[in-house]
Structure formats: structure tokens, C-alpha cells
């Protein structure tokens, strides 16, 4: 199936739920849906479009909202699903029911952006160290790191 056919078929299957559907480049489709439809869309992509493979989940801090992109891939096309959630209420449903391999990426989202992924099978930290203070989310735009003073051996400063 070519890109145009996939776009048409997605419009038919998702109807109103597809808020925005673009095809900017060969083999790249960007689809925007609401967070509540996420799990259903993941199951649909897995069953009908041969996209059982989730490459990764990217998060982006846009100021007022957080935007998340789920990068699915099938042997002929890359479908990237976008959702936005407000910064004041950062909650997201988990897609681990449809795609068990997504658990690591969702854990990373939780610790880097402070999003609460509902229904995640394993909510522990992934990358940040054990003694990282709570409430500090490194990938938010307003989080700046202050470098501690370095000690130069030999005593010079």
C-alpha cells in the first residue's frame, strides 16, 4: 500500500478521532489524536496496519502543554502518533496492553517530564540515579542545571 492509500484508510477507520493527518515526506505519516483514544489507536495500528513495532516515545515541552509522539513502524511506512496534554494535569493512558514493549519508554517519560502514565505495569525509575531528588524533571524547559563548583586537584582554583 502506498502512503496515500494508508492516509485514506486511516481517515476512514478513525473518522473524527483523527484530529490531524499529514504526509510530509515519503514513508512518514503524522497523526494527531486525543489522549483518551490512544490505547484504541495503538491496538488498531497493531492489528490492521502491521505496526506491532513501537520504536520509541518522544516527549516535548511546549510551554503550556506537553506533546508526545509515538513512533510506530511497519515494513512500508512510519506512522507517528501525536497527543497533547495540558501541563497542569499531566496524565496519560498507557499502551502496554496493546504493545508490551512500550513499558521502558513510558517509564522514561514519567521520570523526565513528570507525567503520570495510568495503568503502567512498572512505575519505577529508569535512567535517573537512586539519589535523584523527587520533583525534579530534567527535560522540562524550565529546569536548568546549576553546575557545582569543581575541585581541581593540586589546590589551584
Amino acid at each position: 500500500m502506498s502512503d496515500i492509500e494508508i492516509v485514506e484508510s486511516l481517515k476512514r477507520d478513525l473518522g473524527d478521532k483523527a484530529l490531524e493527518l499529514t504526509n510530509p515526506d515519503r514513508r512518514r505519516i503524522f497523526l494527531k489524536i486525543a489522549p483518551a483514544d490512544l490505547a484504541a489507536a495503538a491496538a488498531l495500528l497493531r492489528d490492521a496496519y502491521d505496526c506491532a513495532y513501537l520504536a520509541t516515545i518522544s516527549g516535548l515541552d511546549k510551554g503550556e502543554t506537553f506533546e508526545f509522539l509515538y513512533h510506530f513502524a511497519s515494513p512500508v511506512v512510519n506512522i507517528n502518533v501525536r497527543t497533547e496534554i495540558p501541563r497542569t494535569d499531566p496524565r496519560l493512558p498507557s499502551i502496554c496492553g496493546a504493545i508490551p514493549g512500550a513499558v521502558l519508554y513510558e517509564r522514561e517519560l514519567q521520570e523526565m517530564f513528570g507525567v503520570v502514565v495510568e495503568g503502567i505495569p512498572d512505575p519505577r525509575r529508569l535512567n535517573l540515579p537512586d539519589d535523584w531528588p523527587e520533583g525534579q524533571f530534567p527535560l522540562r524547559k524550565d529546569w536548568k542545571h546549576v553546575r557545582p563548583q569543581e575541585v581541581i586537584p593540586g589546590g589551584k582554583s
Binding site: Y53, A55, N78, P100, G101, L128, P129
Partner: protein, 400 residues
């Protein structure tokens, strides 16, 4: 009665610190917990403060063995954002270095697999041959590792006739030596018997846990970004997608061996068919606002970068997903129901971007909590002895 054995983070075998806690019941592993984060350097945050060219050198240093793959994946994406069309000669040189990197990475891994299976002379032989590839890379780019040959719009250095002849000579030597090793591997029943049946991952599990690279291809899943999403020169070259059906460590060795032979073919095609022209085109300082998803087939699997630009000379967001991270859920599945003695072999078989070495394993008694320090070298020696005294698996056959 089940014990919990923590492995890592400091271990001489695996160069990368990582902590695995295995819950074991006798000799059989019942549960695995992987603790990442020892190597987390916050690259994505640093990338937002450097401009497009500085980020090439930053993404290169995400990994040492597949450094060119991260840099190339990034540069591919940025060239799309800036709407540049690099000249053909530049692209050929860039992907020539990619295939040389694949050769060096697979040879490194073969040595590691040999070392973990107890076959140390194989380790020394393959690493000696790897030096041929390192010399070629140094001749092309100036450094053995972290060859910063990419620039936005093409490559930095050119190839001349003498260098092309050296590359073809080097590849011919390597091909002869590789075929000799495969002959050894095929006729060495203890080696094949050691790795057959270890670390099983069925096709359905590989698909549902999103495994990538040779790990997925050894379970029969025919996915390769070079075939599905061909970028630049890969749709002009003639090569095959290598898969195996045995779903175990033997299958992974076979897939990487086949990929080595395919890479030699591709390198020869690229050197002989190198077009004339410029090697780079001029790149602007700022990129127009937009976003791009860039995928690349690194030696370990699929590398994916998501880059978003906002019109300045720094990226708004750079998201990197290295292939080994995609294989972790599959590793947990593979280690389950295996033996403790197989841990180094299974973990090395996913090619976790680290070399083999020993690790110190702390055995914590589940009932009384006392600790006993056991080196992984001892565990490995125990595994090799146990395997030698067991009857060999006569029906394990080298498939190629």
C-alpha cells in the same frame, strides 16, 4: 528457595556498568530485573544548548562502537530539515564508512562471543583482523574510533585512488580470513553445541517485545531499515536481508556472520562505483522550523532520532533511542528459564555495546542475608567445565 544475585555495575567483562538482579531457584533463573542509569549522561539536555554542527560531535560520543551510526542518523535528519541534497560522492563515502563500521562491530562481537563460550583464541584472531579495519578507517578519516567524517551537507575528507586500492585489498584479506573462521565454526562441534538452544526468543515474543536488529532477525522476523526505509545509496546497492530460524544464540551468530559477508560485497560495490563530484554542499546556520524522524540500521539494530527545529541555530528537541535499549525487554524474556551459567553468553549475544569481561557477582543468601563474593570469571570457568563434562549435543548443526 530462591536467591537474588546482583550482577554489576563494576565488572571487568562488560565495559558498560549495568546492574542485573537475578532471582534464581537453584540453577534456573526465575526473574530478572535490569537497573539502568549508570551510564545516563543527559545528552538530550546538553544537545539543546549546542548548535547543529557541535551536536554532530556530541551524538558521535553517545556510543564508541557505533559512533558513526548515531552521527549519520542525526545528520540525515538535519539535512532533511534544512532541505539540503548532499552530492552523490559524499553520500557514497559516508555509507562506505558505515559498512566498514558494521564490519568492525561484528568482528568485535564475534570475538566477544568466542570469549564467553570459552574459545579465547577465536577472540584473539578476530580482534587481530579488526585491526585491518581500524587501519582502513584511520586512513580514511584520521581516527580509529569516533571518525568525525560527517558534516552537515556531506563528508569532510575525500578518497583518492591509492586509498581505494588499499580498501579493496583489505576487504579481500578479511573475506579470506572470515571464511576460514566460519569453516572453523562449522566444524567445531563443541562451539556449536555450546551456543545452540541457549537464550530462546520465539518469533511472537520478538514481535510483541519490539526487538530490533540481529536479535529479531535470528528469530525469523525479517526487519531491516536498509530494506524498509532505504535512505540515500541503499536502494542502489545489491544485498540481501539475512535471517535465521533457530531463535537462539546460534542464530544470532549466524545472522551476524552472514551480514559480514554482505557488508564486504557492499563495500566493494561502493568503492568500485564511486561517482565523481563534490563531497559536500554548503549548509545554512539556521534550520527552518519543522520536525523529522530519522532511522538508521546500526550494527546492533535500528537507531531512531527525532529532531525538532524552531528556526534558530540550536535544536528544540533531540530524542535518541539506541538499539540496545529496544532489546532490553527481549533480554529479560531470554534470561528467564535459563541457567546462571548461561548469563554471560546470553547477555553478550544481544551485543550490548560492551565487551566481554568478568563481573563480580554477589550471592545473597535468601534466608540469612549473608553475602558471598563470587567472580564471574569463576562462574564462567564453572560453566565451561560443566559443559565439557556433559555429553555434546550431536544434533546441533551449523546452518550455512
Amino acid at each position: 528457595m530462591s536467591f537474588e544475585i546482583p550482577i554489576g555495575p563494576q565488572h571487568p567483562a562488560l565495559k558498560e556498568p549495568i546492574s542485573l538482579r537475578m532471582t534464581v531457584d537453584g540453577e534456573v533463573i526465575t526473574g530478572v530485573d535490569i537497573r539502568l542509569g549508570y551510564n545516563h549522561r543527559g545528552v538530550e539536555k546538553v544537545a539543546e544548548e549546542k548548535n547543529w554542527t557541535q551536536n554532530i560531535y556530541l551524538t558521535e560520543r553517545i556510543c564508541g562502537i557505533c559512533s558513526h551510526s548515531h552521527a549519520t542518523c542525526y545528520v540525515q535528519g538535519v539535512e532533511k530539515l534544512m532541505e539540503l541534497a548532499p552530492p552523490k560522492r559524499g553520500l557514497y563515502i559516508r555509507y562506505l564508512v558505515s559498512e566498514l563500521e558494521r564490519v568492525h562491530s561484528h568482528l568485535l562481537w564475534l570475538g566477544v562471543a568466542g570469549h564467553e563460550a570459552g574459545f579465547d583464541s577465536f577472540f584473539m584472531y578476530t580482534w587481530r583482523d579488526r585491526e585491518i579495519v581500524m587501519d582502513l578507517l584511520e586512513m580514511i578519516s584520521g581516527n580509529r574510533v569516533h571518525y568525525a567524517i560527517n558534516t552537515i551537507g556531506g563528508v569532510r575528507r575525500d578518497l583518492d585512488e591509492g586509498q581505494k586500492a588499499r580498501i579493496l585489498e583489505g576487504v579481500a584479506t578479511l573475506r579470506k580470513r572470515s571464511e576460514y573462521y566460519f569453516h572453523i565454526g562449522a566444524n567445531e562441534p563443541s562451539f556449536v553445541g555450546r551456543i545452540a538452544g541457549v537464550g530462546m526468543l520465539s518469533k511472537e515474543q520478538a514481535v510483541s517485545l519490539c526487538a530490533v536488529g540481529p536479535v529479531a532477525r535470528a528469530s525469523g522476523v525479517a526487519r531491516d531499515v536498509r530494506k524498509e526505509d532505504p535512505y540515500a545509496v541503499y536502494d542502489e546497492l545489491d544485498f540481501e536481508l539475512c535471517t535465521a530460524d533457530t531463535c537462539d544464540v546460534l542464530g544470532r551468530v549466524v545472522v551476524r556472520v552472514k551480514e559480514l559477508l554482505e557488508s564486504y560485497k557492499m563495500i566493494e560495490q561502493m568503492v568500485k562505483g564511486l561517482p565523481d563530484g563534490d563531497i559536500a554542499c554548503k549548509a545554512p546556520r539556521k534550520a527552518k522550523p519543522g520536525e523529522v524522524v530519522s532511522r538508521y540500521e546500526a550494527p546492533r539494530g535500528e537507531n531512531i532520532h527525532y529532531i525538532k527545529a524552531n528556526g534558530t541555530d540550536k535544536p528544540e528537541r533531540l530524542k535518541v533511542r539506541a538499539p540496545t535499549l529496544g532489546n532490553y525487554p527481549a533480554t529479560v524474556e531470554m534470561l528467564r528459564n535459563g541457567f546462571i551459567a548461561d548469563i554471560p553468553l546470553i547477555f553478550a549475544a544481544i551485543d550490548p555495546c560492551i565487551c566481554c569481561a568478568e563481573r563480580t557477582v554477589t550471592l545473597v543468601g535468601a534466608r540469612n542475608g549473608e553475602e558471598r563474593l563470587v567472580t564471574l570469571g569463576d562462574l564462567r570457568r564453572l560453566a565451561i567445565e560443566r559443559h565439557q563434562s556433559a555429553p555434546p549435543k550431536r544434533n546441533a548443526v551449523w546452518p550455512i
